[in-house]
């Protein structure tokens, strides 16, 4: 028999929407259907005839109601868990303010990712009600953003709830952040824009160091919500002003985030020269988190690639890959960076390793790039053009199309190199045929340029119309090995220096050491004294002799 009390309690609970993440039961009853079932069972007395059928029915219905109940229970338990997490975060924020340690705020922000998936309206409403003082204007505004979703909005005079006299700005902004993220996830972009604007105004007015990390996150979502509504250019002046303020206040996190947001803004509209100017004028703070640094390196790499500075671009992109966390969460970022770094490597004249393409996260998106690499490696121009036409749309959406167009020259270069390595002497006509060039004159000019650029080692004979390769030089007698070694050595040394700089010690640990050191010294002194006295005694004894 199903417990009637438990059923009543399910009815009295606040009407919670069904969680979208709850596991799908094979026979899910909607809320109203379940209610109807309960009411029908409570009201109508079961007739005694067909009792077996009815009992069977009841059993089936009851098991269904059981499942619904279980679901609701699970939902409420999950809710309670998330609420507990939020309260924990509030406590951490308070501690952060009390001790002015940024570690706690970092911890709070780290949990945001997992909380985000489990948020729903009721949790937020509950949290807001408990955190804010009774009649705060902010509270009612925040609740109004959520009010469309929840069913019944009662001003619950809940006596058990904590009623703080005032709310810490940190907690206030943290709740704003959560509501903003929630609206983003629900794709309510217009409300998101309004809320974001209000939050930004609030941030500008307060100047507390403990708010730095929170305000950096809020700027990020502010820009994101504008990006999703395609009105990015509107916020550019605001971001620029905010970046200036952040630099003045030495707010590293906000500074880094804002520079990255501005660069993203410029890239969205293809304004690369403005992005370049920003990079040259604004210094990126060294102490910003690794995530922001990884993004910054990627943007830098892109700018340099467009300006034909491929070596520098490649260095930046490699650093970006290393600084980003290497798990599946950052899959999108890794894909973007790897795509760009493959093209840049090709433009530098190196062939990227095959192992890159085999990584599980990257395998599918990198397939078009694998084909391009193959075409360039063989030096076949026709193949290259074909691949380009086939995957052209993908490249355009990745914004690497213009870079790949530049690869045409590389294909020809590789082709010429292959030919010069394989033939000791070959007529220009044959070169022209092999490389699918347009005419012999073309071939002559191209080969001459290749010789000048140092791609191949050969001489041309104009009258007889052929190219003659020189003998191969032993590479170990040149400077090549030294250059390669130097690259690796400097990379290792840089890595070492960076790791040393990144070491962190707890703040007051050295004081503890000092105390223990003093105690040690005391003991040593005593020991020394005893030994000294002991010796003197012995001496006395000796002298007595």
């Amino acid at each position: 028999m199903v417990d009637k009390n438990s059923r009543k309690s399910t009815r009295n609970k606040k009407s919670a929407e069904e969680q979208p993440e709850q596991p799908q039961l094979p026979k899910r009853l909607t809320r109203s259907a379940a209610k109807k079932l309960e009411e029908s069972k409570n009201k109508a007395p079961q007739p005694n005839e067909d009792i077996e059928m009815v009992v069977d029915n009841q059993d089936v219905e009851m098991s269904q109601a059981d499942e619904v109940e279980d679901e609701v229970k699970k939902a409420s338990e999950a809710d309670a868990l998330v609420l507990a997490d939020l309260k924990q975060n509030f406590l951490l924020l308070e501690r952060a303010v009390a001790t002015i340690e940024s570690r706690f705020t970092t911890r709070v922000l780290r949990t945001t990712a997992s909380i985000r998936k489990r948020l729903n309206v009721d949790i937020l409403v509950q949290a807001i009600k408990e955190a804010f003082p009774r009649d705060s204007a902010d509270k009612s505004r925040l609740l109004s953003y959520l009010s469309k979703e929840s069913g019944i909005m009662e001003i619950d005079p809940d006596e058990n709830a904590r009623d703080p006299a005032s709310i810490l700005p940190e907690i206030d902004l943290y709740l704003h952040l959560l509501v903003l993220i929630f609206l983003l996830d629900k794709q309510e972009y217009d409300k998101g824009i309004l809320l974001a604007n209000e939050t930004i105004i609030k941030i500008k007015n307060t100047n507390r160091r403990t708010l730095d990390q929170l305000s950096a996150r809020i700027y990020f979502y502010y820009s994101r919500v504008y990006e999703l509504t395609r009105s990015l250019s509107e916020i550019r002046p605001i971001l620029l002003a905010a970046q200036r303020t952040a630099t003045l206040r030495h707010d590293d996190d906000s500074q880094a985030t804002l520079i990255n947001l501005l660069l993203r803004n410029y890239f969205h509209y293809n304004l690369y020269d403005q992005a370049d100017k920003l990079v040259s004028k604004a210094t990126f703070p060294e102490t910003a988190g690794n995530n922001q640094q990884a993004r910054y390196m990627y943007y830098l790499g892109r700018i340099k690639a467009i300006q034909l500075d491929y070596t520098l671009s490649h260095t930046h992109l490699l650093q970006a890959i290393r600084k980003a966390p290497q798990n599946t969460v950052t899959a999108g970022f890794q894909q973007a960076v790897y795509k760009l770094s493959i093209i840049v490597q090709l433009l530098m004249g190196e062939i990227p390793e095959r192992s890159i393409f085999r990584q599980p996260v990257l395998r599918k998106p990198l397939i078009p790039y694998l084909h391009i690499v193959q075409a360039v490696r063989i030096g076949d121009l026709a193949n290259f053009q074909e691949t380009l036409a086939k995957y052209g749309n993908i490249f355009r959406s990745d914004k690497t199309y213009t870079l790949i167009l530049r690869l045409r020259h590389n294909v020809i270069k590789t082709g010429i190199r292959m030919i010069s390595l394989s033939y000791s002497r070959i007529s220009l006509r044959d070169i022209c045929l092999k490389l699918h060039l347009d005419s012999e004159e073309d071939a002559e000019y191209i080969v001459a340029k290749a010789i000048r650029d140092g791609v191949i080692d050969a001489t041309l004979d104009h009258e007889k119309g052929f190219m003659k390769s020189k003998e191969n030089v032993d590479i170990y007698s040149t400077n090549e090995p030294q250059i390669a070694f130097h690259q690796r050595i400097s990379f290792c040394l840089n890595l070492h220096n960076d790791s040393v700089k990144a070491m962190r010690f707890p703040l007051n640990a050295h004081r503890k050491e000092l105390a223990s050191a003093e105690a040690l010294r005391e003991r040593e002194r005593e020991l020394a004294q005893e030994i000294a006295e002991g010796e003197m005694d012995e001496d006395d004894d000796v002298t007595d002799f």
Binding site: I306, L308, T402, L405, A448, Q482, L493
Partner: protein
């Protein structure tokens, strides 16, 4: 303000007539342009910011700037052309929503690209290329021309560049292509030095796109090639590759660096 506009409109009408006449007096055009620029800046249209003026004013300002750009090409004043293009850039990108597209936009953008190419500013060339939509890159004849040229330059097929002289989409392009020719002539010369051990004079003339032997001889003496008149050949001075110098400076610096870093390892 409004009579300023009236004056500007009048001046603009005179300028347009003068410029489009078959034998424009470029001096007078220059004079008008200077006056127009002053009046434009008085109406704060030269560098528009703040409130958006009426579309008609914007249109007039844009057309004046376009005529200015073409005029500077005719008088062969490259810095002034650069300035006009920079000013036009705001009109093309930021106000593209409020103004109808200008028919001169793509020719002028193409001209700008060509100018960057001829001055060998390839990085800026590519940055400017990014601003153009991808379809225009392949379709628009004004843009296709510099893009194609750049590819040929990168590959080194200079004869294509020479042939493109015949296919310019607009006659203003010829001016920049001539400058480009000078640049590539130097390029071809340096390529030939490395690639050939000797070259007959007649072939050198064709390679370097010279029309007469005398020009070849002048050029050869400029570059320091030795000409053998009896055989009619040019011999290029080959460098001695056998001696490989030890870059002592860099090796010393590297080694000192390594030593310092190693010592710092605790």
């Amino acid at each position: 303000m409004s009579d300023n506009l009236e004056q500007t409109l009048q001046l603009y009408a005179i300028l347009k007539k003068e410029f489009e006449s078959p034998q424009p007096d470029l001096q007078k055009c220059g004079f008008y342009l200077a006056k127009l620029k002053i009046s434009l800046s008085q109406m704060s249209l030269l560098l528009p910011e703040g409130e958006i003026p009426s579309p008609k004013e914007l249109l007039i300002a844009r057309e004046i700037l376009e005529i200015g750009a073409y005029w500077s090409v005719r008088v062969k004043d490259i810095p002034s052309f650069e300035r006009y293009i920079a000013q036009l850039h705001t009109y093309y990108s930021d106000y593209s929503s409020s103004l109808p597209p200008s028919p001169q936009m793509y020719p002028l953008i193409g001209l700008n690209l060509l100018r960057l190419l001829s001055q060998n500013r390839i990085a800026e060339f590519h940055t400017a290329l990014e601003n153009i939509e991808p379809e225009q890159l392949l379709e628009n004849v004004y843009i296709k021309h510099p893009v194609h040229l750049e590819q040929c330059l990168m590959e080194g097929s200079y004869n294509k560049v020479w042939n493109s002289r015949a296919e310019v989409p607009a006659k203003e392009y010829l001016f920049f292509i001539d400058i480009l020719m000078g640049t590539i002539r130097n390029e071809i010369a340096s390529c030939s030095e490395k690639a050939y051990s000797s070259l007959p004079l007649a072939d050198a003339a064709t390679l370097l796109f010279f029309s007469g032997l005398q020009e070849v001889l002048n050029f050869a003496s400029e570059r320091g090639w030795s000409v053998n008149p009896t055989e009619k050949k040019i011999y290029f001075t080959t460098k001695d590759d056998n001696k490989v110098e030890i870059p002592s400076n860099s090796i010393i610096q590297h080694s000192l660096n390594y030593a310092r870093e190693l010592e710092q390892i605790v």
